[in-house]
Symmetry: C2
């Protein structure tokens, strides 16, 4: 369960006095096992909202309660622990580490959990298999196509068995068929394992798989409705 109350996020540019009000007062509650799509125009605040939900960024004002605890009272180390224990995050720009191999990139979240090396390797390989990249483990990110990089980011987000999966345009660089394969994985994690999934997407077909769709516009929630059954 998580709750955002009157959340705002204001970016202040260092070089000038310009302020960008990315989120202008967002109220949102969600429960374990929900499958939520976040839609909205370019620049409407979707990634900003996801970053705050994923404890990667702090709001300017308002409150974020995660599992009943106020996230703003946690220090950076505690947030880092929360992320590695409970959260899986697929970034809009993948954020892979160029110096590590594909398999090592997928293993990174497991370093924080002190898994032995063979266990990390085993779990990473299962994930790479799931996204169709088991033959790419020893490549580097700059030797991959855009959609392959996106799939490595997805494998990394899932390897630590997260309870809350936050995915920012997870199929944006994938052809329809590969994208469906990934969404089938998400469906299964949600329906069979009750993982909570929050997915930013600009494609209506992708949003249709979710149980609830939230529309953002200029940093405010325009609508928040259950979806008809898929």
């Amino acid at each position: 369960v998580a709750q955002l109350q009157t959340l705002t996020k204001v970016y202040r540019q260092q070089t000038s006095a310009i302020e960008v009000q990315a989120l202008r007062g967002v109220d949102l509650t969600f429960r374990r096992g929900e499958y939520i799509a976040i839609c909205g125009a370019s620049g409407s605040g979707k990634s900003t909202l996801l970053n705050i939900l994923g404890c990667l960024d702090r709001p300017t004002s308002g409150q974020y309660l995660l599992g009943g605890a106020d996230v703003s009272l946690k220090n950076d180390d505690e947030l880092s622990d929360i992320r590695s224990e409970f959260l899986g995050f697929v970034f809009q720009s993948f954020n892979l580490i160029p110096q590590l191999t594909v398999q090592e990139n997928v293993e990174v979240p497991l370093f924080y959990r002190n898994e032995p090396a063979e266990e990390r390797a085993r779990m990473a390989k299962i994930m790479l298999e799931m996204v169709g990249l088991s033959d790419r483990g020893h490549h580097r990110p700059n030797e991959l196509s855009g959609g392959q990089m996106q799939r490595v980011a997805i494998a990394r987000a899932l390897v630590n068995d997260p309870l809350l999966i936050l995915a920012d345009e997870p199929t944006g660089n994938l052809d329809t068929r590969t994208g469906e394969m990934i969404l089938d994985v998400f469906d299964r994690l949600n329906k069979q394992e009750q993982r909570t999934i929050i997915m930013v997407t600009h494609e209506p077909d992708v949003a249709a798989r979710c149980s609830r769709t939230i529309h953002l516009r200029d940093g405010l929630i325009l609508s928040d409705d259950p979806n008809p059954p898929y």
Copy 2:
């Protein structure tokens, strides 16, 4: 007019003997004013093909004739001149320069043409207006949303009035409405100014706007057909 004959591209990994055959023998001819969609699964060779068409990469074997001249006989400086004179390229991962402002990023192709500063600024502003970002000229790329970065990359690709526009998933990070605005710009450049446009896309609606669709699969052309009228 451009022609690719039996083009191959093989990537050899430095760290191992592994070879990836990204293109396995591609024959392709296109003429001035065509509007071509390139589709195919993740990893099928689309970006590789586009990079070779855009003179950003050289084939392993086969020939690429651009305007009748064999591109493989040109040195890097000559290729750089060709690109700045004739080509506009929208990269799948945007490739913006973090240290430059948005407006400076858009101006970069005009540096190679020795335009005076006020002329560069004027042309860049027209492009930013066209992609809906005229209020962002003084921001840096890391202060933008994913879709805003993509639009800056598009503005930069068009600022030097290119004859050949190569766009790799140009609407991949854009919501439907913003994406349509960008595609309307491409349509106008093609129909009113006879610019040749080659666009990689995984979305059938986007491909439907083109006059011809090429499907790639595992580094080979699977099909190459005219589209029914839009």
